[in-house]
Symmetry: C2
């Protein structure tokens, strides 16, 4: 199934050509979707997705914009390449080889971890059509097949996946929240219950993980019950 | 509890002063946090939060930047006003007056609906400290008190709220997703299971609501069981 894929491979190499330029004889690294994806992720990581422009991307790749347009026709295509590459890093390896709950657990944690590193892409991926995003479609196919085999009602499989993803995207943001996000400042006296709960919650060393595990296990348990 | 609050009221009036300007005698509407909040939300809705600048906000309010700085010291303050105002629109009215499951259900649906109208603020609210955001703190206090009264383990109350919020924020994006988000494009043949599940799911008229209900009820059911 993988052989025909030409983009979104798991580990795009760094843009070697940029550092291998030889004096007097410019070395033109072959421009392909892997290089475009790497450069786009680099720019998005630095400037957010609003900071990604076709002109900026061409400059980063040291090519003329026209060369870039031979591979991607618009920023939307570039975002889809970036999104599809990130999805290729999500672990779906246990689906079909372990009970679906266990596979879904590994999938969801790795999905959250990948997007916690790229939260600026969440507003994009959450609403970007998957058309021509082969790794993303493959992930959906793998998860769907496993959910169907487990006995999920057919008409609720896509909704279940979306519910997982919504929780995963929101939780990815939470990973990046500052430690003091719940500090109450000057209005502290009016929130005695909240303050007490915050204090009690300090036993959880990694609060984002505690909240994620709680919600994820809730989703898995409820879906497991719906199969009975 | 509400009397001392001076910002983030539930319904900020439109900036009347701007249309009541009288010829030859400029009418200066009183600049307060309510007007600043309205103007900020208007700009954010139009340009996203990256498009909000202190200079642009002063211009929108027809005041000198120095006048603006008398009320807010930085863009971060403005975002907090906007965030706190949105939170004031979330329905917490049933907490303490109905079973916690029912109150949480109304709270979560209204919370999702408010942020589905303002998804560009999600990356902000998800990581913005609540210091000096009185409506936000009041919401947390109300929910915490109800969860504690229901018998939630004290050390897991904040994590439970965060799990709900993560799901709510991710689901707010899903409300804005285009209908064709899962269209497979040219690679359609490699995803037979996913295509079949998509087709079966078309019985759900409002897919974002189906997914939200599924996940929300899962969270509520699992948390309810943890109380037994």
């Amino acid at each position: 199934m993988h052989a025909s894929r030409t983009c979104g491979t798991r580990t795009p190499p760094a843009s070697e050509g940029l550092s291998r330029r030889r004096a007097g004889r410019p070395f033109a690294a072959i421009l392909d979707k892997t290089r475009i994806t790497s450069a786009a992720l680099e720019i998005i990581g630095r400037k957010g997705y609003d900071g990604l422009t076709m002109a900026g991307l061409a400059k980063q790749l040291e090519v003329a914009p026209s060369a870039l347009y031979n591979h991607v026709t618009a920023k939307r295509d570039v975002l889809q390449l970036a999104e599809d590459h990130l999805i290729s890093m999500v672990d779906v390896s246990l689906f079909g080889r372990a009970p679906w709950e266990e596979a879904a657990r590994i999938w969801a944690w790795s999905y959250r971890d990948v997007f916690a590193q790229h939260t600026s892409l969440i507003p994009v991926i959450a609403v970007l059509p998957v058309t021509n995003a082969p790794q993303t479609l493959e992930m959906y196919e793998t998860v769907t097949r496993a959910f169907a085999a487990a006995g999920f009602p057919q008409n609720l499989i896509v909704s279940s996946i979306v519910a997982f993803e919504s929780f995963i995207f929101g939780s990815a943001y939470d990973v990046t929240a500052p430690d003091d996000i719940f500090e109450a400042g000057s209005t502290v006296d009016s929130t005695p219950h909240f303050r007490a709960a915050l204090k009690a919650g300090r036993v959880n060393e990694r609060p984002a993980d505690t909240a994620f595990e709680l919600g994820l296990e809730a989703l898995i348990a409820a879906l497991a019950r719906s199969l009975c």
